[in-house]
C-alpha cells in the first residue's frame, strides 16, 4: 500500500468526494424522516465509509493472489511458519487497514462536512471495528472460492457493491422497494448502517448497539467458518499483474 498511492486515493479520497457530492441529497431525505438540524453528512459519511469498504473486500484476497503471481506463496509455505501464521499475517493487516480507513472517514467527517456524532464515540468505534472484521471475513470467503484474479475482482466488486446497495449504504433502506427491504437484514452492511444511524442521529450508546454488533460479528464468524472450510493452501491461484 505504501508503494502504491492509488489505494489511498480509492479508500480515502474517493469516499470524501462522494460525501461532498451527495450529502445535500441525503439531507433532504433525513429531514423528510423528521430529523432536525442535519446536513446530510450524518448519512453520507457512514454510507460512503461502509460502501467503499464493502466495494474493496477483494483487496484482502489480492494479497494472496499476488503471492501466487510473484512465486512467493510456496516459499512462505515452505518456511517454519504455520498455516495459521500465514493467514493471520495476511488477514490482520487488512483488518487494520479497513479499520483505519473507516475511522479516518468518520474523523474527517467532522472538520470537513460538519458531521456531529450525537451518541457515544465508544459505540461508534466498536461498530467500526466489527464492520472491518466482518467485511474482511467476507473478503476471505471470496478469496477461498475464487481461482483467478478476474473471478476475485468480479465477485469481490460485484458482491461488495451489492452488499453496499442492498444494505442501505447507497440509499436509505426505507426508500428501497419492498423486496429489497426484506433482503437487507440478511447483510452485514444493513446492520452497520443501522448501528451508525443509531449512534450518529439517535444518540445511542454501547448498550443500544449490542444487537447490530453481535449480528455483524455473527456474519463475520459465518464467513470465516465457510472460508476456513473452503480454503486450500495447495490451490493454484492465477494472478495477472
Amino acid at each position: 500500500m505504501w508503494s502504491d498511492p492509488s489505494t489511498v486515493i480509492f479508500v480515502i479520497v474517493m469516499p470524501l468526494i462522494m460525501v461532498a457530492l451527495m450529502k445535500e441529497l441525503f439531507a433532504t431525505a433525513l429531514r423528510a424522516e423528521g430529523f432536525q438540524g442535519v446536513n446530510g453528512s450524518e448519512f453520507a459519511v457512514p454510507a460512503m465509509a461502509v460502501g467503499f469498504a464493502a466495494f474493496g473486500v477483494g483487496y484482502s484476497g489480492f494479497t494472496f493472489f499476488r503471492d501466487h503471481g510473484w512465486g512467493t506463496w510456496d516459499r512462505l509455505r515452505a518456511t517454519p511458519a504455520s498455516s495459521a501464521d500465514i493467514l493471520i499475517g495476511k488477514v490482520v493487516p487488512n483488518v487494520a487497514v479497513t479499520f483505519v480507513q473507516l475511522a479516518l472517514l468518520f474523523l474527517l467527517g467532522g472538520p470537513l462536512f460538519g458531521l456531529e456524532v450525537r451518541g457515544s464515540w465508544l459505540a461508534l468505534t466498536l461498530l467500526v471495528a466489527v464492520v472491518a472484521l466482518s467485511l474482511c471475513a467476507f473478503g476471505m470467503l471470496v478469496t477461498a472460492v475464487t481461482r483467478t484474479m478476474n473471478q476475485l475482482n468480479a465477485i469481490g466488486s460485484v458482491g461488495g457493491m451489492a452488499m453496499a446497495m442492498l444494505g442501505g449504504a447507497w440509499v436509505p433502506v426505507a426508500t428501497m422497494p419492498g423486496w429489497a427491504q426484506a433482503i437487507a437484514p440478511a447483510l452485514p452492511t444493513y446492520w452497520a448502517m443501522q448501528g451508525f444511524r443509531g449512534v450518529i442521529l439517535e444518540s445511542k450508546g454501547v448498550p443500544q448497539v449490542v444487537v447490530p454488533v453481535l449480528v455483524m460479528a455473527g456474519f463475520g464468524l459465518l464467513y470465516t467458518v465457510i472460508a476456513a472450510a473452503r480454503f486450500r493452501f495447495e490451490d493454484t491461484k492465477v494472478y495477472f499483474g
Binding site: 510473484w70 512465486g71 510456496d74 509455505r77 515452505a78 517454519p80 495447495e234
Partner: protein, 351 residues
C-alpha cells in the same frame, strides 16, 4: 557413499535399477532424506508411481529427468507443499506429514519458479525469509553478508528486487534458501534461465554446502550440468526412479556408444548384430566399435534415403536411451507438452 547397482526388475521392456543402499528403519540408514513408495496423481495423471530415494548428509543427489518426469512434484512433496497419495517422506528421521513444522525448519527450498518480493529491496527479502526461518537478528545479518558474498549479490542488497536482471533474481532466489544453513537443501531447476556466471555461482555454492554437511537434492533436466556437478544421480522417468548411482558408475553400467541413422521415410531392412532398435524413421545400433558398425551398415543403405548419421557417445544421454529406449531431448519435449496437461489437471482437481 558407494551405491550398489542392481538390476531388480523389468517393466514394459525397460531395465530398471535401484540403489541397494539404506534400510527401511528410521534413522538407521543415516539418510537425511528418505522417500519410500511415494505416489501422487492429479486426476488421471500419475505424476509419481512409487518413488524410493535417499540422500545422506553431505551428499549431492542430482534428480535428473526430462520435463514432466515428476521432479517438481517430488520436490514439492518433500518440501510439504503437496500431499502424497501414498508413501513416506522422512527428513532427519522425522515423518514429514506428522511433524511438518519441525521438518520445514530443516529444509531450504528454492522452487522452480523465481519467488522474491519485487516491490521491496533484496535485503528486505532476505530479512523476511530469514526471520521466518527462525534466525535471530544478529545471526541473520551475518548470514546475509556471507550468502551475498558467496552468490555475488552484495552490491544488489539495497536495490529493489523487481528491478534486477533475471540472473540476479535467480541468485537472490537461491540465496533465500541458504540463509539458515538447512540440513536438507531442495533446489528445483535452480539454474533454469540463469546466465553462465550465475550458474557457476550456484553450482559452486551447492558443492560448498554439501562439504559443510548439508544434504542436497538438486533437480535439473540439464544433462551437462549433472555431469559437471560430479554428483550422484537419480534418474526419474514417468514418475519412477529408474536408476541411481554415481555418474561414472551409471555410464559404465548402461551406456555404450550408439550409432543412430535417420532416414527419409521408413527405415530400410538392414542386417546388423543384435540390439538394433527402430523408432520412427531412426535406426539405433548400440555398439562398442562405432566405426566398425558404420562400415558394416552404411553399404547396406539404399542410395538417397539416408538423411543423417550420429554417434552418441557414452554419457548420461546414452544411459537414458539405454534405460528407456528414447532420446532424452525427445522425452524432454514430449514431457513439456505432458507437463502443461498435468498443470491443467491440477487446477481441475483443485476445483
Amino acid at each position: 557413499m558407494a551405491h550398489d547397482m542392481q538390476r531388480v526388475r523389468e517393466s514394459d521392456g525397460r531395465m530398471l535399477a535401484s540403489s541397494g543402499a539404506g534400510s527401511t528403519e528410521v534413522g538407521r540408514s543415516g539418510a537425511m532424506l528418505r522417500v519410500s513408495g511415494l505416489r501422487k496423481s492429479y486426476g488421471e495423471i500419475e505424476a509419481l508411481r512409487g518413488v524410493d530415494l535417499e540422500v545422506a548428509a553431505g551428499e549431492i543427489v542430482a534428480l535428473l529427468g526430462p520435463n514432466g518426469a515428476g521432479k517438481t512434484t517430488l520436490v514439492s512433496i518433500v518440501a510439504g507443499l503437496r500431499r502424497a497419495d501414498a508413501g513416506v517422506v522422512e527428513v532427519d528421521g522425522l515423518d514429514a506429514r506428522r511433524r511438518s513444522a519441525e521438518v520445514r525448519r530443516r529444509i531450504g527450498l528454492a522452487p522452480q519458479d523465481t519467488g522474491i518480493y519485487p516491490v521491496v529491496s533484496v535485503r528486505r527479502n532476505l530479512l523476511l525469509f530469514g526471520e521466518l526461518a527462525g534466525l535471530g537478528r544478529a545471526e541473520l545479518r551475518r548470514r546475509i553478508d556471507e550468502v551475498a558474498e558467496a552468490l555475488d549479490i552484495g552490491e544488489l542488497l539495497d536495490r529493489q528486487a523487481g528491478k534486477l536482471s533475471g540472473g540476479q533474481k535467480r541468485r537472490v532466489h537461491t540465496a533465500i534458501a541458504l540463509l539458515h544453513r538447512p540440513a536438507l537443501l531442495l533446489l528445483d531447476e535452480a539454474t533454469t534461465g540463469a546466465d553462465v556466471e550465475t550458474r557457476g555461482h550456484i553450482l559452486e555454492l551447492v558443492r560448498q554446502l554439501a562439504a559443510e554437511g548439508s544434504a542436497v537434492l538438486y533437480s535439473t533436466h540439464y544433462l551437462a550440468e549433472v555431469e559437471a556437478l560430479g554428483s550422484a544421480v537419480a534418474i526419474l522417468d514417468h514418475g519412477q526412479v529408474i536408476a541411481r548411482g554415481d555418474v561414472g558408475d551409471l555410464i559404465g553400467a548402461h551406456a555404450v556408444p550408439v550409432v543412430e541413422l535417420a532416414f527419409d521415410g521408413e527405415v530400410p531392412a538392414i542386417s546388423s548384430h543384435g540390439g538394433a532398435t527402430v523408432e520412427g524413421n531412426r535406426l539405433r545400433l548400440p555398439t562398442r566399435d562405432p566405426a566398425a558398425t558404420l562400415v558394416e551398415v552404411v553399404p547396406q543403405v539404399p542410395p538417397g534415403v539416408l538423411s543423417s548419421v550420429e554417434i552418441i557417445r557414452p554419457n548420461l544421454e546414452a544411459v537414458y536411451l539405454a534405460l528407456t529406449g528414447r532420446r532424452y531431448d525427445e522425452a524432454d519435449r514430449e514431457g513439456a507438452r505432458e507437463e502443461a496437461t498435468e498443470r491443467k489437471g491440477r487446477s481441475v482437481v483443485a476445483k
